[in-house]
Symmetry: C2
Subunit: 202 residues, 2 copies
């Protein structure tokens, strides 16, 4: 315990650093990563360039921390409450809210950046996708999906949801994409009707 | 007709321009658009920087032409032959071939770039998605899908396929993603069994 004595200055430093990171992430949510520079972020966040360099050293380090934050936040979106009567609708409503769209937009931009010559970013995206798939698969099993098909269904559902959201952000065709989401929900309803009742499984 | 007399030099110029564009597109397929510069492309294609500027003026113009070419090519991928016994499997096999993956990777990178502050790129991606959806919807109707559900199903199917391909490129988890594709194909088979037989529809 004595080794973990709190140093007031260090705490203020950490607090300030987290605050700057949050503000830099807001900047990335609005403008993406493509033209991000420490100078622009410093200006937008309202700190000096020297302060930013002091906290994050390089643009790459700052981007890495923004990406971790955004992937963790995107990961939180599809959490399913076990007593939610319409979990899929809840996921969709959250992801298509104004705030949800900002995260999906930056997640899509990050995924695009991860496609070429960027193994660190690619690993972060891969880890996020695998974690989300496992979380959703576990949620599906709790909702009665047979274990044997949970991973494939979770993979396919997340792919569809991501794909629909990208379509929505690119085309703004709310009506067609909403119809496709309802089609997905209807098919999933028909499918879950084939699952054995929970008491048979346990 | 006389107005369209062929100028030999102009033809050679156009031919040379198309050849440079194809080579520049190969460069983008390998390295993406993020760090693309006229100088790097000139070096990789084996022409002088002056020649590249002569043909394309600016990096933005070159990128716009590469994007058009890649989106048109990605658009060609999901064409369904009416007598193909397993059209979905054919689409998947083409998209996951080495050459298909290069196009999907660049398409994903382009989509990522289209997310922030780039209305031209966003319009190009939106147009490509809408065209692909219409093409697939028409193909589904030819395969017996009721008109009323064709647009929603085409939107959802393309979203799933794009999402699965991005998952595959990011995670390299061939087994899990292939299982999800087979799950999708199985569900589609069950669904099409509910469609009225073609002679009832016509």
């Amino acid at each position: 315990m004595n080794d973990e004595r709190v140093d007031g200055r260090k705490l203020r430093f950490e607090h300030r650093r987290a605050e700057v990171l949050r503000a830099a992430t807001e900047h990335a949510l609005d403008h993406g990563l493509a033209n991000l520079s420490l100078r622009k972020v410093a200006q937008s966040v309202g700190v000096s360039h020297a302060t930013l360099v002091h906290h994050f050293s390089t643009k790459d380090e700052l981007v890495a921390e923004i990406v971790d934050l955004v992937l963790a936040q995107s990961l939180a979106l599809p959490d399913l409450a076990d007593d939610d009567p319409e979990p899929l609708e809840t996921i969709w409503r959250r992801a298509t809210s104004d705030e949800g769209r900002r995260y999906v937009r930056l997640f899509t931009a990050i995924t695009g950046h991860a496609m070429h010559d960027n193994p660190t970013l690619r690993d972060a995206v891969a880890r996020s996708m695998q974690q989300r798939t496992s979380l959703l698969a576990a949620g599906l099993v709790r909702h009665g999906c047979p274990e044997a098909e949970a991973a494939a269904l979770a993979t396919s559902m997340l792919a569809t949801l991501r794909g629909l959201l990208v379509d929505l952000l690119a085309t703004d065709d709310e009506k067609r994409v909403r119809a496709a989401f309802e089609d997905l929900a209807g098919e999933l309803g028909r499918r879950s009707a084939r699952w054995p009742p929970p008491d048979v499984q346990s």
